[in-house]
Amino acid sequence: MRISLRGEFGTKLLAPLSTDMEENKETSKPETADSLIRSPLRGEVSRRGLFSSLGMAWAPFGGAGALGLGAMTRFLFPNVLYEPPQQFKAGFPEEFAVGKVDERFKASYGVWIVREPDNFYALSTVCTHLGCTPNWLSSSGTFKCPCHGSGFVITGINVEGPAPRPLERYKIGLSADGQIEIDKNTKYQEEKGQWTMDGSYLSYTA
């Protein structure tokens, strides 16, 4: 059986030294691409076939294609964002009333700052159900989400509605100049037991 591959491999590659195919039917073995790659320089290779047989045409093409695709994908991930910064200073601790939820930074940074008698914590304004922004109802002392009715108490624990877990807390600390500093890059989830970790609350007694 003769495997005949013209075009890419060139007729010379697979034909025996004699051009008379009939004569060599019994004696010659079928040439395969593998045997060519292993020993391409057996004297039967034409100059045109050499590059192709070594895959030297497809390799740079494939490489360039992959590089192009990679560059295009990286292009879609911007390096500069026109969003409010993830870390910000929220003012001095004495500006916050004890037992109150402060909504000054709800719209601008998506954070509620709550002061308890002995510490501060920062709640995320993202409902843990599907991502809407709940409202703080001071009369009932709960956060209620307008989208699907999830309810959270002042600590952020979910008590009603479809929310599956409590509101997340952001890292809170004191800056060098004594202001409260919130870092949204780090979040603490109660259901993972992270509300006892350092950074999830700021100890502060008046």
Binding site: L76, F77, P78, L81, Y82, E83, L130, G131
Partner: protein, 258 residues
């Protein structure tokens, strides 16, 4: 009057445009379809069963028709709509109040809803008539990708009015992306992709970030979805549609006996 038309048909201009004769002969009928760039995607002849509504429901054809309606109305809308947070909402309003025949936005929206319905009905019909069986499996798969593209077009277009419905719908929709395995920063496996404590997949670099061009739905998202909706997805859909129609013809034409 007829004499005048005959004279026109003998002019060089006419003959250069129309490469077939005018009299109603079988040859001219064939050439009228074959020698036309737009019509030659159509077969010259169809089986009688191909135009039987109770066989085909004509849903595929309706879907394509609605796609053309969407393209034209969409193009017209692009003359007035600006995809920025500052202008998007009021431009949509202006398209109804300030533009003559202020119906383009409504037609566009209605046709979009109808297209989703006809696409599903078409899929249902193809399933009921067994037109997915060999050798048509590949075309079925192309059709499924077209279905996904139709839904993606709907999703991206939904954001463009920039109203409350749009912003929160896209927020909820893209929040699902952050739970993707490996590619989403809250999905399984994301924690594994970190080099020496530095997370490779985080809120600022996962697939949700790439979709939104930000950490939340904002101006970057609006522009990105606008480009996808007006250029990206339509181009891919048009290409796949061409393959889809080509395949129908190659496999023996529409609605014949299997």
């Amino acid at each position: 009057m007829n004499k005048l038309f005959e004279k026109i048909r003998e002019t060089q201009v006419w003959k250069s445009i129309f490469r077939h004769g005018y009299p109603d002969t079988p040859r001219n009928r064939t050439l009228a379809v074959l020698s036309n760039f737009f019509l030659h995607l159509h077969p010259v002849k169809v089986r009688r069963s191909g135009i039987n509504l109770s066989y085909t429901w004509c849903m595929g054809g309706l879907t394509f028709f609605l796609f053309l309606i969407e393209t034209i109305t969409g193009l017209l809308l692009m003359f007035y709509y600006r995809p920025t947070a500052e202008y998007a909402y009021q431009d949509i309003f202006a398209l109804r109040e300030n533009v003559p025949l202020g119906l383009m936005r409504e037609i566009h929206r209605w046709a979009a809803h109808l297209m989703v319905i006809t696409v599903w009905l078409h899929m249902y019909r193809v399933f009921l008539t067994g037109s997915y069986k060999p050798p048509r499996e590949f075309n079925w798969n192309v059709g499924v990708i077209l279905l996904v593209l139709t839904l993606l077009l709907s999703f991206t277009g939904y954001l463009l009015p920039w109203d409350q419905l749009a912003v929160w719908a896209v927020t909820v929709g893209t929040n699902m992306a952050r739970a993707t395995p490996f590619l989403g920063h809250e999905g399984p496996g994301a924690a594994l992709l970190s080099i020496g404590g530095l997370d490779l997949v985080h809120a600022g670099s996962d697939v949700r970030f790439g979709l939104l061009a930000g950490r939340f739905v904002g101006e970057g998202t609006l522009l990105r979805f606008y480009v996808l909706h007006c250029v990206g997805f339509p181009l891919i859909a048009a290409t796949l549609m061409a393959i889809h129609f080509w395949r129908v013809r190659k496999d023996g034409g529409i609605s014949g006996p299997l």
